[in-house]
Symmetry: D2
Subunit: 153 residues, 4 copies
């Protein structure tokens, strides 16, 4: 897919003292807010999934390929198993948020990611998310070496 026209459309990879990270900018639109005047709490869960998807994309792993099996021996997808969510401060319409994703822990068939959402450099939401690689038939799969190396950076 030719994406050359739009810079950073899948965010950016980076590295600091804590290790490798991925950052994705997310704009808050009306669809993300609620009648309380702030970002609806479940919207952060969607934002995190965008971050994970583009993190995988920049690692070279497209969700569509995982599902269709083009990138693995059998069709597979990452499925969320557990999340713990900490809502710290409200986001608002027109805010430009940044979703930062880091690998926290690598298991045999699961990955735990730490995801932080910030506004003007200040954290407003944080999540730990455990995803497992599952075949289309529902069976947990071992992470391939390619995926493992990609995550471990």
């Amino acid at each position: 897919m030719n994406e050359g026209n739009w810079t950073d459309i899948a965010g950016r990879m980076g590295e600091d003292a804590r290790g490798k990270f991925h950052r994705l900018p997310v704009r808050v639109y009306f669809e993300d807010t609620d009648a309380g005047g702030v970002v609806y709490h479940a919207s952060y869960v969607r934002f995190c999934e965008r971050g994970r998807t583009d993190f995988l994309r920049l690692l070279g792993v497209e969700a569509r390929q995982l599902i269709s099996g083009e990138a693995s021996n059998e069709p597979a997808a990452f499925v969320v198993r557990r999340m713990s969510l900490d809502f710290k401060r409200p986001g608002r319409m027109d805010d430009l948020l940044v979703v930062e994703t880091r690998v926290k822990d690598l298991g045999g068939a699961s990955v735990t990611l730490n995801q932080d959402i910030s506004k003007d450099g200040r954290s407003i939401f944080e999540a730990d998310v455990t995803v497992v690689l599952v075949s289309v038939g529902g069976k947990p799969l071992r992470l391939s070496d390619a995926i493992r190396v990609a995550f471990e950076g």
Copy 2:
């Protein structure tokens, strides 16, 4: 599926001078509203799809069956081709809306439905929606006689 415990969970069929209709109650939750303090405009499009799905359900046609092919000769699904939407008055948090769906026109492979959303008996949104029956491969399918009879009532 045993749904006997929850009355009217798929709404109700009825008939008046204008013909057969289906009514589905829809509660407005925070997820449906936006920072303007009212129902987010795209939420009505979701509410209409709930109405169409339960209208089909009470006609005896489950979406899952259409897709899996259990209810037809080949796997198929209704796909929206055209909508015209009229946003008349705002809906608000906690409102109990009613989605009313009627068949407006039956074509060879398409159905045009008229859908009205009201609050305390007063219309706040109206849509004409044309859906086509399409095979999993993307080919438009003729409506089966069973579906045609169901729609014509």
Copy 3:
């Protein structure tokens, strides 16, 4: 609001050995699913909020009243502070799920709820959700005795 025409539209309160609970039926529509063929994970977070809102409604506390201040001394709303989510089994299109909500813990300004989502009587998702009562200005408020009594049953 006259809701008499639609039975159980806000679910039902009940009581068993574990204490008081609220149950709300939730139908899975296309809007709730994703291209993986199952319920999108963030949809469960929305379903839980519907359960909490209707639990409060049957306790006599409407979200709109909390915000406008009609039911309290100053305008207020329950805001989600923390969630831990356990995704056990996939839900699918057309499923009729039940969201069960129970009070797990009552603090000075916070309530922790346990929410379980089941399908045909089998749990597919579970969450612990801590909400705090916050004034429109953002200040945490003590739970009124009325709300406290309502929760403690």
Copy 4:
């Protein structure tokens, strides 16, 4: 707000033989798809709103300012009055779509926009959208000269 780090985060303005236009890239994530394996139809309605919001933003009119009144004499917001939607081809997970927005017609208190969503340069969805400027109290407002000039380019 410092957005300098992320290029084109609000899309780009351009001009061709048909006049001025705004283009916004939109990635398709799981949240935008449904169990049919394609983009859920109401997602396009959300994508169009993102396009309109960023079109206004690049014209110098932030939604939050319209609501709070910082950019006008009285608090106001654009509200959707009518939409006609044409669903031409399916979008899919991981697609990079482009939402193109053009002014079609300028009335006293309303603007009709034409919005086209394309994939690899080929249109998959088109909408005509009429929005009106409304005060917080619900009264239609005349478009200010500043807004009018911005739209007419």
